[in-house]
């Protein structure tokens, strides 16, 4: 999308505590009680700006359903909602 367009659902940086296998244990200090799904996205690997993300859909102890991902290029965590 061009720089001028305002996207929706832009990822926000998140503080994620991880356990074995990179599984999230807490998101922004909220304990994760269940992992609903995990998937990997690899896209635009043929360009200078490849996109590699490991997504996790988790439920936290306060009942919220969150989608977080780890940017595999730099190891940073982000959340969508």
């Amino acid at each position: 999308m061009s720089p001028g367009a305002r996207r929706l659902a832009v990822p926000q940086p998140a503080a994620v505590l991880t356990g074995p296998g990179g599984r999230p244990l807490a998101v922004d200090r909220h304990e994760v009680v269940a992992v609903r799904e995990s998937w990997l996205i690899e896209d635009r690997w043929w360009t200078d700006r490849p996109l590699r993300r490991r997504y996790w859909e988790v439920v936290t102890v306060d009942g919220r359903d969150l989608v977080v991902f780890r940017e595999l290029q730099d190891g940073q965590w982000y959340r969508h909602r």
Binding site: M1, S2, D43, R44
Partner: protein, 393 residues
């Protein structure tokens, strides 16, 4: 009196399309035909010319003459951008430029002499300083004479053709520079007519009989007679670009187009004017670019009608696109009461809503009224699915 100046940048389109691969142009290379268009090669390198290949030759014939001919994918968008910079640089010295095709620009120097030292040499120096790149510059009493002079000029020394009579010794291949006569040199050479002098000596009726209107134009040009220059109208640049994260085609591309139209119409610089002509272009996934000029049958400011027209052009896009761009080429008159596609009772309500949006934007700025546009609902990356776009009716 040499009043017309021609600035020629040889192989301009080929050089731009080759980009940083300049080494490619040292061998036989030619601009490949645009996808979906007639299979004719574009500009050719000097090494390719040595094989007898020339612009406009059938691709099959060109490859038969030189099997190792390198075909460079055309880049019409890059060429248009680069050429715009050249023309703007020339306009910067005060020239009213006719830019018939990329690589050749002509202007009348009569009004410029006093600005640049009172002589043609001063104008030529100003052109060189403005362009800051090697260019062949010629001057003559008409456009074609100036072009012929530029074709024989050296990169550092301008050539001046004082009289049309000097055209006599020039090759008929010069006619390739004009669209209407581009296909004639080959036939003329086969008939043994090699110079413009020989062409000028032929009876006009015979040329008309053999080549039709193009023969008459060629005859006029050989005598140095040419039509007056038609300088381009100065216009403001207004464009919107959309980079598509995932290579797009079909419905996804049409949604991107809708977003571009909305954003272009919402630009403050448009100031209520309608759009008369636009340029739709795309960067293709497989390399190269695609560009299409669209002149609306009547000036438009209705996004639905514009979308209908432009979506048809997108249908002929030769490959998925990485980026889409919509630029205004010419504005129409302001026309607040533009007809809608279906003129029913809703038109008045839309007009009131349009006015309300205008007032909201006046108070809250351009982002005062937005709507959610689904660009790629099936994308695996959430932030690519929807964007906020200016609300347009």
């Amino acid at each position: 009196m040499s009043s017309i100046v021609c600035v020629m940048l040889p192989r301009f389109e080929l050089a731009v399309a080759a980009g940083r691969r300049e080494a490619l142009l040292e061998g036989p290379a030619a601009l490949a035909p645009e996808p979906g268009r007639e299979q004719l090669v574009g500009e050719v390198s000097r090494a390719a010319e040595a094989f007898g290949i020339h612009p406009g030759m059938r691709l099959g014939e060109a490859l038969a003459r030189c099997p190792r001919l390198a075909l460079v994918p055309p880049d019409p968008v890059g060429v248009a951008d680069e050429w715009e910079r050249v023309v703007v640089a020339l306009e910067g010295i005060g020239a009213a430029v006719e830019d018939d095709r990329p690589g050749v620009a002509c202007f009348d120097a009569r009004g410029l002499r006093r600005l640049h030292g009172g002589s043609l040499d001063g104008v030529v120096s100003a052109v060189r300083a403005a362009l800051r790149r090697p260019a062949r510059i010629g001057a003559g009493p008409s456009r074609f004479c100036a072009l012929a002079a530029a074709a024989r000029a050296r990169p550092r020394r301008a050539a001046i053709m004082a009289r049309p009579g000097e055209l006599a010794g020039e090759p008929v291949a010069l006619l390739r520079h004009r669209e209407r006569t581009a296909a004639r040199p080959e036939a003329l050479e086969r008939l043994g007519v090699r110079t413009l002098g020989e062409l000028a000596a032929l009876p006009r009726a015979a040329l008309s009989d053999r080549f039709g209107p193009a023969g008459l134009i060629a005859h006029d040009l050989a005598h140095g007679r040419d039509t007056p220059l038609v300088p381009r109208r100065a216009t403001e640049a207004l464009e919107e670009t959309l980079e598509l994260e995932e290579s797009a085609s079909g419905a996804q591309l049409e949604r991107g187009l809708a977003l571009l139209i909305d954003r272009l119409l919402a630009r403050r610089e448009r100031d209520g004017r309608t759009l008369r002509a636009v340029v739709l272009s795309a960067a293709l996934v497989e390399g190269g670019t695609w560009r299409e000029r669209v002149v609306f049958r009547e000036p438009l400011a209705d996004p639905a009608r514009m979308g209908l027209v432009l979506a048809q052009r997108l249908a002929v896009l030769p490959a998925p696109a990485e980026a889409l761009r919509l630029a205004v080429e010419r504005f129409g008159a302001p026309h607040p009461g533009e007809r809608a596609l279906f003129d029913d009772g809703a038109a008045q309500r839309r007009a009131r809503l349009r006015e309300a949006i205008r007032q909201v934007r006046a108070v809250a700025g351009p982002e005062g009224a937005l709507r959610v546009l689904t660009v790629d609902p099936d994308s695996r990356v959430p932030e690519r699915r929807a964007v906020l776009t200016p609300f347009e009716l």
